[in-house]
Symmetry: C2
Subunit: 141 residues, 2 copies
């Protein structure tokens, strides 16, 4: 099952770079952390260190909820729920390109390019993964 992405939701997600991701840890407790994401063609692309708690939790339980919200009135949020999967070669994505797009949008071109440079080439310590949402919840106040 893939949730429907309306043009309004697509635009909201493409213009936003930071969300809050929730995972479930080994004790069944929810854990949250802010995370960059890149919304592209119906999926949220993300990355994290392979040694982080977040990645350990995801290896054991790939279910996530990613909350993307605009904090100032008028309030709006899009919540993406589903299971994440690691990006594989057949998906035709580049970790460096995805990080570059996130970093440039967040920091601007100069600082963004400099940030992304460290993600060039093989990155055995970095997990590149994506969420194709099963459920999308859109709220507006």
């Amino acid at each position: 099952m893939t949730a429907e992405v309306t043009p309004e939701i697509d635009a909201f997600l493409r213009e936003t770079r930071v969300g809050v991701i929730a995972t479930v840890d080994g004790r069944g407790h929810p854990r949250t952390t802010p995370i960059w994401f890149l919304w592209d063609d119906g999926a949220a692309y993300l990355f994290t260190g392979r040694k982080t708690r977040k990645w350990r939790n995801l290896l054991a339980n790939p279910r996530v909820s990613l909350c993307v919200d605009h904090r100032q009135p008028p309030y709006a949020s899009v919540i993406l729920d589903g299971a994440v999967e690691e990006v594989t070669a057949s998906m035709g994505r580049s970790l460096y390109e995805d990080v570059r797009r996130m970093a440039v949008a967040y920091y601007g071109p100069v600082e963004g390019e400099a940030f992304a440079g460290r993600y060039r080439g093989d990155q055995p310590d970095v997990a590149h993964f994506r969420l194709v949402p099963e459920r999308i919840t859109h709220q507006q106040s």
Copy 2:
């Protein structure tokens, strides 16, 4: 166990009104939603409708993770993990007063007071609850 609240964390939480709360639903999946909170004397005070999915999830599993972050550089976040409990009469809190403080801080005095007015008196359909965090994670970039 109660986590230590440094003056820096206390100030960060007191100046912020919106967080993202994660709960775990009946299937063990994480769920997120934006939520207002009021940080006061070591606890986050919150409210929601008793008929919401969030409250149903919390009645079955009171564990939450509340992520409070500032989105613009320099990036900073405080994550509060623990179990929520319903506010009882012995705690000396007023739902109306707590909502009023959140709404005035969010909307400003005129619109905030107007918003809060609907929470005066008995509110059988509203759950007023709090999180005394067991774990506090503070990140700065």
